[in-house]
Symmetry: C2
């Protein structure tokens, strides 16, 4: 990850520049424009990734415009559009199908194709920091598009147990049923967002993205031995991570999930 003044700089633009976008709401906090434009430049690709802030009701119109524009070659999809985007693509990967959410879309043979690299990115980011999940007990809060991707990716790393919580109980229960289809070795349960006894907690909700001070877990029960991860990119240190650090926990910021998938997405985009 580049942290200097050049981070986010593409090659000079011309009429031949290939266009990519990240679509979300809000978008001002998105790390993708910085990361992908740096990556495009590093690969000497005449390409640019722009931020587009689009309300959920307008997502179909933006994807329609994407289809109709010749040099508009790919989309990164972020909160809150990952589930809706799944229903708007023509085809999708096995992983996207398993999660029911896409975070990237490209064109392929006159159709648009969705895939999902969030889980891959999350695991790659943890591995780069030396965190292994095998045999661990994991609490995941949030069962939206990102939460599902993270839960499926964690499941594949052979933890001892996964607890999932979401304020939407129907969604929470649906995801647990889906997860159980992919493993009979791992204990998979729903339950309150109480970190007691868990080796790792992952926040996959948007709590902490906006200025309000709020926690996605019962923070008073957080022990210093628990690794606390967030998938929110901005702020880098969410209120959850700040509270965890003040309790002596090791923390893991959201940027790592994003940076962990940039290379894979560049390849997906043909860059």
């Amino acid at each position: 990850m580049l942290m200097n003044d050049q981070a986010g700089l593409p090659l000079p633009l011309s009429g031949r520049t290939r266009v990519f976008a990240i679509v979300g709401d809000p978008i001002t906090q998105a790390g993708s424009p910085r990361l992908f434009n740096s990556a495009f430049r590093a690969r000497s690709a005449e390409a640019v990734l722009i931020p587009l802030e689009v309300k959920d009701v307008d997502l179909p119109a933006i994807i329609d415009a994407f289809r109709r524009t010749r040099n508009f070659d790919g989309l990164v999809i972020t909160v809150p559009h990952k589930l809706a985007a799944f229903s708007l693509v023509d085809n999708f990967s096995d992983m996207a199908s398993r999660i029911g959410a896409v975070n990237v879309i490209r064109k392929h043979g006159g159709q648009i194709f969705g895939d999902n690299f969030d889980g891959l990115g999350f695991i790659a980011g943890l591995s780069q920091k030396g965190h292994d999940l095998a045999g661990k007990r994991i609490l995941i809060v949030g069962a939206g598009g990102a939460g599902r991707a993270v839960a499926h990716a964690i499941l594949d790393r052979q933890p001892a147990a996964i607890r999932l919580f979401d304020i939407d109980q129907v969604r929470m229960n649906d995801v647990v049923v889906e997860l159980r289809d992919y493993s009979d070795q791992v204990v998979i349960e729903t339950g309150v967002p109480d970190p007691t006894g868990f080796d790792m907690v992952v926040n996959c909700t948007s709590i902490g993205m906006r200025p309000e001070q709020n926690y996605p877990i019962l923070i008073e029960n957080l022990d210093s031995s628990t690794l606390v991860a967030d998938i929110i990119v901005e702020p880098d240190i969410t209120p959850l991570l700040a509270a965890a650090q003040s309790r002596g926990c090791v923390t893991h910021s959201g940027i790592h999930m994003l940076s962990g998938q940039v290379s894979a997405i560049c390849e997906f985009f043909g860059i």
Copy 2:
């Protein structure tokens, strides 16, 4: 106009970057991404202008997406969309109304507003090169969006006479009638694209943009005393300009019309 490796380079992109686009078909030859991104950077604006290649049937869908995206703040419209875009905006300037074509669109109070700086840019580009049009006889070939803009702007500079030619005779005659509404001093006529006796010839067609070798005027009648201007940006020297130079004519490239309006469009975009 920057001609070095940095031309076309915006500031680094982030989630806060304002997005602008040039919309045309084809778009690979467009000079606007190079010129505007350099201008945005020079003004320290967190903004980027991307090329979008869109067929005429798809223009309404792209303008719809523009309306629906919060940080998508402005469009530059180029060939062949300038006339169609006029019918798709909610409001327009007096100049756009006079020409019946827009080459820029911005948002204003929940609506989209079109203006046209092509004529201003063409005259500014000529002036920078020391060419004055007062009292001159001018042949304009092409009565599309750009041709109309150029014709109206030339008319306002008090030439002696304007001849307009377009292969679409209905369009040609309509534009001549419109021009006559704005001056009873200037001789305004239709006629063949024969440069004999004209002080300046302006190509406002797309002939010369694509590889085929073709001329918009009766090239064999071109005299060395005639100033020959083109509005095509790429190639910089069109077959017309090359033929004119070989006959000893002074020529004027299309990039000057574009560079002559960059500052005015930046101001229009609020940059």
